[in-house]
Symmetry: C2
Subunit: 406 residues, 2 copies
Amino acid sequence: MSVNLPPMGELYPVPGVRLASCGAAIKSADRDDVALLVFTPGTALAGVFTQSGFRAPPVDLAEQRIAAGKVRALLINSGNANAATGIEGLEDAQHLCAQAASALGLEDEAVAPFSTGVIGERLPVEKIAGAIDTCAGQLDPDSWAAVAGAIMTTDTAPKALSEVVEIDGVQVTITGIAKGSGMIKPDMATMLAYLCCDAAVTASCLQQMVRAVADASFNRITIDGDTSTNDSFVLAATGVAGNVLVDDVCSPAYQILQESLVRVAQLLAQSVVRDGEGATKFVTVAVSGGASEAECLQVAYTVAESPLVKTALFASDPNWGRFCMAIGRAGLVDLDQSRVSVFLDKLCIVQQGRQHPDYQEADGASVMANDELTIRIELGRGEACAEVWTSDLSYEYVRINAEYRT
Amino acid sequence: MSVNLPPMGELYPVPGVRLASCGAAIKSADRDDVALLVFTPGTALAGVFTQSGFRAPPVDLAEQRIAAGKVRALLINSGNANAATGIEGLEDAQHLCAQAASALGLEDEAVAPFSTGVIGERLPVEKIAGAIDTCAGQLDPDSWAAVAGAIMTTDTAPKALSEVVEIDGVQVTITGIAKGSGMIKPDMATMLAYLCCDAAVTASCLQQMVRAVADASFNRITIDGDTSTNDSFVLAATGVAGNVLVDDVCSPAYQILQESLVRVAQLLAQSVVRDGEGATKFVTVAVSGGASEAECLQVAYTVAESPLVKTALFASDPNWGRFCMAIGRAGLVDLDQSRVSVFLDKLCIVQQGRQHPDYQEADGASVMANDELTIRIELGRGEACAEVWTSDLSYEYVRINAEYRT
């Protein structure tokens, strides 16, 4: 089940990046679940990481090592999040990074670890160690599709995308991968996404860029409002393309590169929603007329995460009273409901806080019957706006999360 | 579907209160959906009302009139919330209050209106006006059960309770009614609850008491995290019992009365959860060791409203990683996960932020199989504690809210 999930198009190798995946039978024996990404010397890396108070040990390690500026390889496993595993979980992650470092001829601190899957179980260290050696012997520039598959958990399909953009007359290649598919309300990042490009960018510029890209993409999605313990989003720039080093966030080159990365990241983030657990609809909640972007997001997330809104979406029922209910509970101070309008796509349902005089239920039902739609909310109290992407709440969401241990 | 919902016991008349209900065919022709409660002169009233920014017009009117100290009657309808209805909705409520006032020989401002049901539709004023006249002609002290039934929406059973308490040697009777059953995360009150007693209490004492009682009961429940546009909780004290007027919040009489009211309100609030939409479990989330009650509530509500926790409860799956995930995303600053413990009833699952060495999955599964259980979380950062009551997320919740317009 997924909503118009685009198939992976052609994935371009990113000069300066080699990668590989293989199976360690962490949760299932018939799929790849360990991946290695290795970068050429001089690659700049930046990341954003979950703000969860129950962060998994590998997240701390990856954040520290990337911040230290020495990372040359990413070690990723699915099937086990290595979360809520205490000091032993940290030692497991350190041990496996050392194993990868040894196989690649790097310092231990040059490997950053990432895990996704069930929370609370120790990693099967021996199995993963074997898989690391296999991966290290199979690195090549063309394994993006296989790696996108290896990092999946309950995703029904891999999410990956490439784009080419020109900076200062030089072609830069961007390829990104991401995985979803429940426990999705990234808080500063999403559950594992990696964007690599071959542009030359300073580490400080890249750190600003990764935050801006996350805020425009992975930090704008919610499936169930539940934030993972392992969210990590990493941006790598190998510098192989030969462009003039991007070292100024105000430069045209910075802007062009960031716009291009935002585009790729938004499509990946939207793919995560399209493939959200049990999703039958892809819904944009767009809020405008707010006093600040923060309050627009507050309203958008409250509407997007309301179980009553989500079940109405699943039922294709234009039960617009529930939109008003959710707007009302979003915590905005001094909201004047008589200035609020609500639209389904272009159809005005609520005007001045009550049903538009021309609104016909059949028109609302017709928009709600679509598998993609926009709930547009105009607050009438300012100029700010924001939008988030979400899915509905179906029987299938309950089934997936009641029947399977994720 | 409901979880050990206690049957209504004997309901005692409250001296000074007469009431009646009848059918106006607002949503269905075969049930009562309009009720009147009329108080003897001198009755003190106090209320708490939803903080929703999309408050229904009758809520504003009821709050103003109760605050003005002149209310002698409550007019309640189910089947239509008169919410998101703008100035016309306010006029409808005023008109119906005037109708009731005329039938009862009162000033217009002596009637406070309450509505619950579908949002966004105008009230069927003519039908309700007729029902008001019928109710006014049938007032008696014994109609509590009928009125508890008349205020229901998707509730499967009425919620009502009586208790007798002695204050200064005088017997005081308390009878309360409430209705749920979706869109339940009261913010300052729940979707319609009324507690009446015959104690003599000053209006200012009663106003403090209603807040304290709400905070200990209806403000501690959540079914789906969605807050209604119409939540109202009213406390009436008719003064007929003959006790010495309670006019000091520090007096023993005040304390005794409040404790008794809290007990009744908690049982009613818990009944709302037991009859929550699609509920198959009644779950207490008890958080201790917090730096403040506020942060304990923050954690308790995040766990109680997490869709992944709720689906695990539905599945009776001791998937404790999801509890950690939810604790982690509750937004506590500087949470030290290595100090966190989690218990299912008395079974310690998580100690020092990871699985307890003696924990066996079968033991967790055995507790989760019960239809009532407590998730106990110890944060290890202070002395504060708080608990909330909630239900699980079942197929039935999705069915009710996808198939029916509420």
